[in-house]
């Protein structure tokens, strides 16, 4: 598979602040790629460099086989962008903005536009001044999704949407994937990336710290098991790979490394299991484990 986006060793500083510190990122053509990280980790900066709005200090960036700084306008006709903070012209109506942005990009599919307005339940006759944050977001989403392009760069596109609209959004991304489009979806909402992404890259302090399919990333983590048995599980702690044991009302909850799952089952089965619930780690847990120390440190920093 060829790469829609290929970034290596990307560095960007603003004054003394290092926003990107040697970032590497590969997005394959035709995949939905989750771009995950806490606020301020460099997601938006990366996307702005991919759009040629910011100039990288160093590093190599290729977007749709072109250089986003030198060939910005040509490349942009083949992509659509939804910014994280959507600012619109207060005097224009939502419908006018959608048409304007699409025309600037090179055309709009009017049937698709009507369909999306319906799906996102957006009134295009209102001035954008009177839109809520969620409605402004919808304008940007409809404008982007109504264009048939190769690549969609979506920067936290659902931050103002309610759950029903979030579902509509997920449905739209499913369509994109089915049509073989490439999507880079930045988010700090993990359920979103989990539901949509083929692969994810996790960014932290301007560097990608993990990248791969969700399966590959889960492999690094543990499965959570909640189990009840007839005979007591006194020695569960001796099973290799088991941690975080909590006894509660005769039930036991623990995490186990995926590699040692069968060891745990071997131990439990003779004790006569009466109930067992297990679930793969959510991205949330993955995320916390990846960033846990850092988030705490950042909060302490902020509190100071």
């Amino acid at each position: 598979m060829s790469a829609a986006i290929s970034v290596s060793g990307l560095v960007k500083t603003f004054g003394t602040t290092v926003a990107l510190d040697g970032l590497d990122l590969e997005v394959c053509t035709g995949e939905v790629h989750g771009f995950l990280g806490p606020n301020g980790s460099g997601k938006s900066t990366t996307i702005r460099i991919l759009l040629g709005l910011l100039k990288a200090d160093s590093g190599r960036v290729t977007l749709l086989d072109g250089d986003p700084w030198r060939q910005a306008a040509d490349l942009h006709r083949r992509l659509a962008y939804v910014p994280g903070e959507v600012a619109l012209w207060p005097n224009l109506t939502g419908g006018e903005v959608i048409d304007l942005l699409a025309r600037l990009r090179g055309g709009i599919d009017t049937r698709r536009r009507a369909e999306l307005l319906e799906r996102f339940d957006l009134d295009p006759t209102k001035r954008t001044r009177s839109y809520s944050k969620g409605n402004r977001q919808k304008v940007a989403l409809v404008a982007a999704l109504a264009s048939d392009v190769e690549l969609y760069l979506l920067d936290e596109p659902t931050s103002g949407l309610d759950p029903i609209m979030e579902a509509a959004f997920q449905h739209s991304i499913g369509e994109m994937r089915a049509r073989g489009r490439t999507v880079l979806l930045s988010s700090h909402i993990l359920a979103e990336a989990e539901a949509l992404s083929d692969r994810v890259s996790i960014i932290r302090a301007g560097r990608v710290v993990q990248s791969g399919t969700l399966r590959e990333l889960r492999h690094l983590t543990r499965t959570t098991v909640v189990v009840e048995t007839e005979r007591p599980m006194d020695r569960i702690g001796d099973v290799p790979g088991v941690a975080n044991i909590v006894h509660e009302d005769g039930r036991v909850a623990f995490d186990v490394d995926t590699d040692h799952l069968d060891d745990a089952m071997d131990y439990l089965t003779p004790l006569r299991i009466t109930s067992l619930v297990s679930h793969p780690p959510t991205l949330e847990e993955l995320f916390l484990r990846e960033f846990g120390d850092r988030v705490v440190a950042a909060e302490e920093e902020a509190a100071r």
Binding site: L53, L54, A72, A87, W89, T93, L104, R105, T125, K126
Partner: protein, 530 residues
């Protein structure tokens, strides 16, 4: 819960929020009034000068339409009021409208009223507190104006009456703003309606004052002026202001009781669901965003130019009677005074056009800093096309504005003097100012390209050009300093002959500045944070 629960804490909260905003307004209006008071008083210090004023300026219908009914023109007090009331009245009315809307409708727009409304606050507490704040500020302006008059050695009674008449208009427009805030569903709309009422009040009294008819009594501005300080010295017209204000407050409370939070009594019209054919490129967008402002500028400049042109007749008499004014007009030996006056008028209109050109060019920055540029540049629009498209609208708008100024001045002069050729002559002369006007805008563009955070600095150049043009001779600004203003290099048409040299030079500097801006804009980071 009583009807006034929560008013007092809200009042304290608003005053705290306005601790800079209101003093700037109040002191600004009072300072401008005071400065013009002492300047005017210095200019008309002899009985002869006063008599000349009464027979020229105060006898001109154009000046009466602009300033108000001439009362007591035989004494300095009357002239002081005639010269200062316009800015003070408009200033206090604008302050009242902006203040009351800022604390009511704008707060609702921002969604902050819901937060306050969930605390112990009576339904009308917000509007009551806002009305109190704006009225208090209006009274302070009135007091400041009265004190300024006292300082300029005017009698106590007249000073107080004049101050009260100014304050009264502020209170009236507090009421207008409060009612408009209930009527419209957004702050912008509320301010628009209030300013419309102000323009109407101004126009009605202008027509009434010129025709010496009763029409002036239909305008709140008329009531404040009909107190006739120094001549009639009557307080009762302000009773009409009070009655009108009371009516506005009742209307406000009734309207507020009938509407939901966040909406207005009038719901906004739905706009087009799809973009029209014009709104399809950078130029179309830029034109759409600027056409309203341009129209406003053209109307303002044409009105101003027509007014300046209509003074031409009385100019000669007026200047002949007052030597101090001759300094301002710096008439050379050979030229007629009227031509010199027209040159000054064209210069002022040119600097006005520079104001438009700069604000139009700096739209590029406001588009960028508001975050609206990024999605545009993320489409097939290149930086160069966006930059050029915006400047094209600025250029066309500036040319239209400069020509309308010249045409307005020329037509008005032609009608007043009965010399039709003057219309064409002055329109052509106005084009001489174009290179200087565009150069000022180009400096703004250069800043935008390289130091976007500092674009506002270019306004200092506009202000400097104005000071040099208007007060340069009076303040005896050295030529080397005055030359920093691009306008200093232009021939004073129609008095002086047009030479190509300075025009070509200014145009070249303009092009260099634009090219520099282009280069900088292509090299730098773009976005709200840049």
């Amino acid at each position: 819960m009583t009807a006034l629960a929560g008013v007092r804490p809200l009042l304290r909260f608003m005053l705290r929020r306005d601790r800079v905003y209101l003093p700037v307004w109040v002191l600004g209006i009072v300072a401008v009034t005071y400065a013009s008071l002492s300047a005017v008083r210095g200019l008309y210090d002899t009985p002869r000068a006063i008599a000349a004023y009464a027979s020229t300026v105060a006898a001109s219908p154009a000046s009466i339409a602009l300033a108000g009914p001439p009362f007591a023109m035989d004494q300095i007090g009357g002239i002081l009021i005639y010269e200062t009331s316009l800015t003070a009245l408009l200033g206090v009315a604008l302050m009242a409208v902006f203040t009351v809307v800022r604390h009511t409708r704008r707060e609702e727009d921002a969604g902050r009223v819901e937060l306050l409304g969930s605390t112990v606050v009576s339904p009308h507490a917000m509007i009551t507190a806002a009305v109190l704040v704006a009225s208090l500020a209006s009274l302070l302006v009135g007091l400041g104006v009265a004190v300024s008059f006292l300082v300029e050695q005017q009698p106590l009674e007249q000073s107080l009456l004049y101050g009260a008449s100014i304050a009264a208009l502020g209170v009236v427009f507090t009421g207008v703003g409060a009612a408009a805030a209930q009527l419209m569903s957004h702050g912008r709309g509320a301010i628009g309606v209030s300013l419309g009422v102000l323009a109407l009040a101004y126009g009605v009294r202008a027509i009434g004052d010129v025709g010496e008819s009763r029409l002036s009594w239909l305008s709140p501005m008329g009531w404040s002026q009909q107190v006739g300080v120094y001549e009639l010295d009557r307080w009762w017209p302000l009773g009409l202001s009070a009655l009108f204000t009371g009516g506005m407050f009742v209307l406000t409370v009734v309207l507020e009781s009938r509407r939901d939070l966040g909406s207005g009594v009038l719901t906004p019209r739905a706009g087009p669901a799809a973009a029209g054919p014009l709104l399809s490129g950078v130029v179309g967008l830029s034109w759409r965003l600027q056409r309203g402002a341009l129209l406003g500028w053209v109307v303002g400049v044409v009105a101003m130019a027509a007014l300046l042109g209509s003074f031409s007749e009385s100019i000669e008499d007026m200047v002949a009677e007052n030597p101090a004014l001759s300094d301002v007009f710096a008439a050379g030996a050979a030229e007629t005074l009227v031509d010199a006056y027209m040159a000054i008028s064209l210069l002022l209109l040119g600097i006005g056009a520079a104001g438009f050109a700069v604000s139009s060019a700096l739209r590029m920055r406001s588009e960028e800093s508001s975050g609206r540029l990024e999605p545009v540049l993320a489409t097939g629009v290149s930086r160069g096309r966006w930059f050029a498209g915006n400047l094209l609208v600025t250029l066309v708008g500036t040319v239209v504005l400069v020509v309308s100024g010249g045409l307005g001045l020329g037509l008005s002069y032609a009608v007043t003097s009965g010399l039709p050729a003057k219309a064409w002559e002055l329109t052509r002369a106005s084009l001489v100012y174009l290179p200087a006007v565009l150069l000022v805008a180009a400096v703004g563009v250069l800043l935008f390209g390289w130091v976007p955070r500092l674009v506002a600095v270019v306004w200092a150049l506009v202000a400097f050009a104005f000071v040099v043009a208007w007060l340069g001779e009076l303040l005896e600004i050295p030529a080397r300093v005055a030359d920093l203003s691009p306008f200093s290099h232009l021939p004073a048409v129609p008095t002086e002959a047009v030479t190509a040299g300075p025009l070509v030079l200014l145009s070249l500097v303009t092009l260099v500045a634009l090219a520099g801006g282009w280069l900088g804009f292509h090299r730098r980071d773009v976005g709200a944070g840049a």
